[in-house]
């Protein structure tokens, strides 16, 4: 099927590549179908593109890249629909903000990871209600040349 994307234009996506988030994203329950897009040279970063809203896309990265120790405590009940626990990959949302002096800072949301099981193509965004999991962790040091794409 053809999916209209925010930064890649229309792309052809096999139906079986669609990842379902049955609950949607937190606060955005209608956003339930996504595709994972990889740009050459940008591994391990991905674009998570909404199938239903061309203008909605997130930049995500496996948690491993940001913190190899990242293992948020998640209630069993929240991942009950996500299949085998060992197949679940925490992906972290990354974004950029312009600072007052015109520079850019890049942040990662460690409080609300996207737990994705690639094998069954299902995901869920969970909220980790613990202080040591920040909503905005500055990761500017690991990326370069950021510019916003509003």
């Amino acid at each position: 099927m053809i999916v209209n994307t925010k930064i890649f234009g229309p792309i052809d996506v096999p139906e079986e590549s669609i990842i379902l988030f049955p609950q949607g994203l937190v606060g955005l329950p209608w956003l339930q179908r996504f595709v994972l897009i990889q740009e050459e040279g940008l591994e391990p970063f991905f674009t998570l593109q909404s199938v239903d809203e061309a203008d909605f896309a997130l930049w995500i990265v496996p948690s491993l890249f940001i913190d190899p120790e990242y293992a948020p405590p998640v209630d069993e009940i929240e991942i009950a629909d996500l299949g085998d626990k060992n197949d679940i990959l925490p992906m972290i949302i990354v974004w950029t903000e312009e600072t007052d002096d015109g520079n850019h800072k890049t942040y990662a949301n460690l409080k609300a990871p996207l737990l994705i099981n690639p094998k069954i193509k299902k995901g869920r965004q969970v909220v980790i209600d613990k202080e040591e999991y920040p909503l905005k962790k500055d990761i500017t040091a690991v990326v370069d040349g950021a510019s916003t794409n509003t």
Partner: protein, 89 residues
């Protein structure tokens, strides 16, 4: 919205198995106790709002960045990933 007046120590029951108790009141703070089944997720509303706001902001300011420290993508993702190039900008 249903609005009820409760005194310290009084409670409200929601459905069959959720109970909310007013534990104490001090100035404009109210301490609330909640009894609910383990599968009922309880979060402060402003936390969910904050997560939603970040979701929206992150979708608006998706960065064009170069990765300083590259990395392998987990092989489990290979079959799922669509390859694409950006439109000319």
């Amino acid at each position: 919205m249903l609005v009820l007046t409760r005194k310290k120590g009084e409670a409200i029951v929601i459905g069959d198995n959720i109970k909310i108790v007013v534990v104490s009141v001090s100035g404009d703070s109210v301490k609330i106790g909640i009894e609910a089944p383990a599968d009922v997720k309880i979060l402060r509303a402003e936390l969910l709002e904050a997560v939603k706001d970040i979701n929206v902001v992150a979708a608006k300011t998706m960065p064009h960045v170069k990765v300083k420290k590259g990395g392998e993508k987990p092989s489990i993702l290979t079959d799922l990933t669509i390859k694409a190039k950006r439109k000319d900008t």
